[in-house]
């Protein structure tokens, strides 16, 4: 009789994995087979030698692992803090850049004209919307009372206003705003004396008694004063007249 099928059973018996029938078959075979009897005896010896040899884990095992895990957690927290700080700086920089930046995308022509600025949204009540404004440098001989603000509601009032600056070519302004424009809009014009370059201006707020001009002054730039004209379309439902011009620096 072949012993091969019984070798698996001898092993399985050590693991308590035999059915009663298998155990009976194996016992019957072993009684008549000295080879399998010897194998069963040796495997039992090995089994008892191995099953009793578990050792405790060294005490420093968990200690070392936890030390490394905590160090890693500290390092990750430090990294997250640094990342958060960096993100906050980035947000501040982007915000500062955005607030100080003229809306050049509103009119592609403005890209080539450093003297033009653009508005930020208007707040305050009563208020009116002001479209992106244009900035014109006036001749030094054309400086009326500055700063002053004017609401123009017709072609006539615009031409009358422009005649106050005889030494400056403002024909582009009179050409840009015709009768159709004034059917549903008015023009806001602000005259001011400001340094001759580098500074950007934005019409920031238009309320019942004042117009606020946001002024961005770079760290370096000319300080020579020059007269300027800011012109921006606004809606008909805005204030009737403007009493004051106020500047705020960004």
């Amino acid at each position: 009789m072949s012993c091969k099928p019984y070798l698996d059973l001898i092993s399985a018996r050590l693991d308590g994995a035999l059915t009663p029938e298998q155990a009976e078959q194996l016992n019957a075979h072993i009684q008549g087979c000295p080879t399998c009897r010897a194998i069963a005896k040796d495997l039992e010896c090995m089994h008892s030698a191995l099953s009793g040899c578990q050792v405790p884990a060294p005490a420093q095992l968990s200690e070392h692992v936890m030390t490394q895990i905590r160090a890693e957690k500290r390092s990750r927290r430090r990294f997250v803090r640094q990342l958060t700080g960096l993100a906050a700086c980035l947000v501040l920089c982007v915000t500062a850049w955005y607030v100080g930046l003229p809306d050049l995308t509103a009119d592609p022509q403005r890209l080539s004209d450093p003297w033009r600025a653009a508005p930020v949204s208007l707040t305050g009540a009563p208020r009116a919307t002001v479209s992106p404004c244009e900035k014109w440098r006036l001749s030094s001989f054309d400086a009326p009372a500055a700063p002053s603000a004017h609401l123009l509601d017709s072609v006539d009032s615009l031409s009358a206003f422009l005649t106050r600056f005889p030494d400056t070519d403002l024909s582009a302004v009179s050409a840009a705003y015709g009768e159709d424009f004034f059917l549903s809009n008015r023009l806001l014009a602000v005259v001011m004396q400001e340094p001759s370059s580098s500074i950007t201006h934005t019409l920031f707020e238009l309320t019942a008694d004042r117009v606020t001009v946001l002024r961005h002054v770079p760290e370096a730039g000319d300080s020579d004063m020059a007269p300027w004209l800011l012109i921006a379309p606004t809606q008909l439902d805005g204030p009737e007249r403007i009493l004051a011009v106020e500047f705020i620096d960004s």
């Binding site: 070798l7 698996d8 001898i10 092993s11 399985a12 050590l14 693991d15 994995a17 010897a38 194998i39 040796d42 495997l43 010896c45 090995m46 089994h47 008892s48 030698a49 191995l50 099953s51 009793g52 040899c53 578990q54 050792v55 405790p56 884990a57 060294p58 420093q60 095992l61 968990s62 070392h64 692992v65 936890m66 490394q68 895990i69 905590r70 957690k73």
Partner: protein
């Protein structure tokens, strides 16, 4: 607290929960790495790596098996990788496994401590078996350590190694017979 609860906390970054999981499993993991490598220093390094990898990889543990099974699989893979690397570094003329198919290349390991005429005490037998374990192929060593040293069931071993329980059962039988053969060769068992 159950293993599942501890795992949930550990996944949220609770290192105390992970420490408890480690305490619950460190003995079996260390005994696996120790019996697989036969060297306490390597065993310590591999056990540490296993727990650190488990901590880092907790987010990948889906809970399809018990955490201890998953941990055991990590340890087992780490041991196999380590021993294969070690084997590549060794002289090709001295392979680790004495029960591989290419028996012509097997080293003879004469060991006077275990001469046939010596009466083996239990302690001596353990040393002989330990020595024999190191000469087994990695596959056989792995299942024998899991079954004999750590007392895992066929099904637990099958889960760890992604095998059928029947395959585990017959592999264990072959491993035992291979170990006996080694002990016979070294004179610790008489034929």
């Amino acid at each position: 607290m159950t293993e599942q609860e501890l795992v949930l906390l550990a996944k949220q970054g609770d290192d105390q929960a992970f420490a408890q999981l480690m305490r619950d499993n460190e003995k079996r993991i260390y005994n696996l790495t120790l019996r697989m490598t036969g060297n306490p220093e390597d065993a310590m390094d591999l056990a540490q790596d296993t727990f650190l990898n488990a901590w880092k990889g907790l987010k990948f543990f889906k809970g399809d098996s018990a955490f201890s099974t998953w941990l055991y699989r990590l340890a087992s893979n780490a041991c196999i990788d380590f021993l294969r690397r070690q084997k590549r570094r060794q002289d090709i003329s001295a392979p680790l496994a004495a029960d591989s198919e290419d028996e012509d290349r097997l080293p003879e390991v004469p060991d006077d401590r275990f001469r046939p005429d010596t009466q083996l005490e239990q302690q001596e037998l353990r040393r002989a078996v330990d020595e024999g374990l190191r000469q087994l192929s990695l596959e056989h060593r792995q299942v024998l350590v899991m079954r004999e040293v750590n007392g895992l069931s066929y099904q637990e071993i099958a889960d760890i190694l992604d095998l059928e329980a029947g395959t585990v059962k017959s592999r264990i039988a072959r491993a035992r017979l291979s170990l006996r053969k080694i002990l016979l060769k070294s004179g610790n068992f008489s034929s």
